[in-house]
């Protein structure tokens, strides 16, 4: 049984050279902080439309950026997903029964 990652409703905006992640619904939309993504993070966020687990996201990142190995990327991807989860911007579900569970 593997964890699957589900994006919460957000809009990615590019304004004045910055890539911003704007949450739309629920408590995540209360703006205590603003989420500014660098290029890697923005690509990962877009990647979440197609890949919904840690290993495939890590492989996607390694394919997208030259010189990045899956082994090197795995911790970065995990950290990013943890941060998104903490902010309420993604949630992890178990594929079989769909309850909320831990990301890692």
């Amino acid at each position: 049984m593997s964890n699957r990652i589900e994006k919460q409703p957000c809009v990615l905006r590019c304004i004045a050279g910055e890539t911003l992640l704007i949450p739309l619904r629920g408590k995540a939309a209360d703006l205590d902080a603003i989420y500014v993504l660098n290029e890697t993070a923005a690509r990962l966020w877009e990647g979440l439309d197609r890949y919904s687990d840690l290993s495939s996201l890590t492989a996607y990142l390694a394919e997208t950026f030259d010189g990045v190995t899956a082994a090197a990327a795995v911790q970065d991807v995990a950290d990013f997903l943890d941060a998104l989860a903490e902010a309420g911007l993604i949630r992890a579900t178990c594929a079989a029964s769909q309850p909320v569970c831990q990301l890692t």
Binding site: R13, D30, L31, I34, V36, L37, A41
Partner: protein
């Protein structure tokens, strides 16, 4: 890989950049000028049942197109205001169209038309902020200003609906001859609720040229006395003055009729799709029903914003310009001329500056500067306000630094003389 920065830090950085790049970061949309209240001080309200006005208002499809265009152009902060936004039965649809494009939305409302259904919806699709204006602490005062029986209870019901859902509510009021004795009761009430509160006393004539709001406007001395009664206000005015004296603003301040952020980083759209520099600026409008936002922003509004002054005015070299309530738009509403500063704002500003001991240089164009015709008369008001501060037990802020030149001492034997080295 990612950065989560504080909202305040992010906002400051982005606003700094917009001065160089002229990005339309902030938009104000007057969703409807119709309103169920008939406030004596209001600058733009129309009867809620004004069918002709309703028929002219933008359709939902027109909002969709305009929101697409401004999102593409870089707008982030979106203010939806009125009149009363909820006078539009389809307000939540307009709001949702804006929300799903990723704007950070603030809603100005009087709260009287809020319902549990609307509050539930906002709790799910949360706005950046909701600001409700209080028109009095007591029912009698509130409805004396709004001229709408029952409006006090409806407003308080609306506030409760938002608070029950922990929505990001802010309260505010306007200082008028009717509300002035209840401002601090409203502040205390708001703070007891844990809700931020602010007030403003700068009233303008109506945009249809009626001067009726000025009938309830406070005198400049009354406006500044309200500052004395709130220990946070006077230091805040000085901070504002210092913070915005930046080199980055200089090209926009020196020679242009408009000297604000309108047309550089912000714009307004009225209920009929006409874009302008701000909600008060009425003479230069670009019809978004006839042309694209980009065309209007890049060409029309740029030209409007960069129009040059035709004559020297006292505001051009005014050190306390950033604290002032005067601007081209309000000048035009009150004097009929963008370049003629309104005396009310200038007098309020100078009263504040003298109380704060901000150094002001003589200026032959300004009647309130040392050596000018109204200086002595204004100083009498300053003295009276100092006396009032003493009665209230208010310690006026000590200036943080002096920018007047220090006159060097000259030693002559055992005597010490100040200046006059060429005797």
């Amino acid at each position: 890989m990612r950065a989560s920065v504080s909202y305040a830090h992010f906002s400051r950085q982005l606003h700094r950049r917009l001065l160089e790049d002229r990005i339309p970061l902030e938009a104000t949309f007057e969703v409807s000028r119709r309103c169920p209240l008939a406030c004596r001080h209001c600058y733009n309200n129309l009867p809620v049942g004004d069918r002709a006005a309703r028929q002219r208002e933008l359709t939902l499809d027109e909002y969709r197109r305009i929101f697409d265009e401004i999102a593409e152009a870089g707008t982030l902060w979106l203010l939806l205001t009125g009149g009363e936004v909820l006078a539009r039965p389809d307000f939540l649809e307009i709001y949702t169209e804006a929300k799903t494009r990723g704007f950070l939305i603030t809603i100005f409302t009087n709260g009287t038309l809020l319902t549990p259904r609307i509050a539930d919806y906002l709790a799910e699709w949360r706005p950046f902020a909701v600001e409700i204006t209080l028109y009095g602490h007591t029912r009698e005062t509130y409805e004396r200003l709004t001229r709408a029986p029952g409006s006090y209870d409806r407003c308080h019901r609306g506030i409760a609906l938002l608070l029950e859902r922990s929505l990001p509510l802010k309260l505010k009021t306007v200082g008028t001859t009717i509300t002035k004795d209840e401002i601090f009761a409203m502040r205390d009430w708001a703070e007891a609720l844990g809700v931020p509160f602010k007030f403003d006393s700068m009233l303008n004539p109506r945009i249809d040229c009626s001067q009726s709001p000025l009938e309830v406007r406070l005198t400049p001395e009354e406006v500044v006395e309200l500052d004395l009664r709130d220990p946070r206000r006077l230091p805040a005015w000085r901070d504002l003055s210092q913070r915005y004296q930046t080199a980055a603003m200089a090209p926009y301040v020196t020679n242009t009729v408009y000297d604000c952020g309108g047309g550089i980083g912000s714009f307004a759209v009225n209920p009929y799709g006409e874009m302008s520099i701000c909600v008060l600026s009425q003479t230069e409008t670009y019809d978004l029903r006839q042309g694209s936002f980009r065309e209007g922003w890049e060409h029309f509004l740029r030209q409007a914003r960069l129009q040059l002054r035709t004559r020297p005015v006292k505001c051009q070299t005014c050190e306390i310009r950033p604290m002032c309530g005067s601007c081209a738009a309000v000048n035009e509403l009150e004097t009929g001329d963008k370049e003629t500063p309104i005396d009310f704002a200038c007098r309020v500003n100078h009263l504040r500056a003298y109380l704060l001991e901000i150094p002001l240089t003589p200026n032959p164009l300004c009647e309130y500067r040392p050596g000018s015709e109204r200086y002595a008369e204004l100083q009498a008001s300053v003295a009276a306000l100092r006396q009032r501060a003493a009665e209230l037990g208010v310690a006026l802020p000590v200036p943080s630094r002096r920018s007047l030149p220090v006159i060097p001492f000259q030693h002559d034997g055992n005597s010490v003389k100040e200046g006059h080295s060429n005797e």
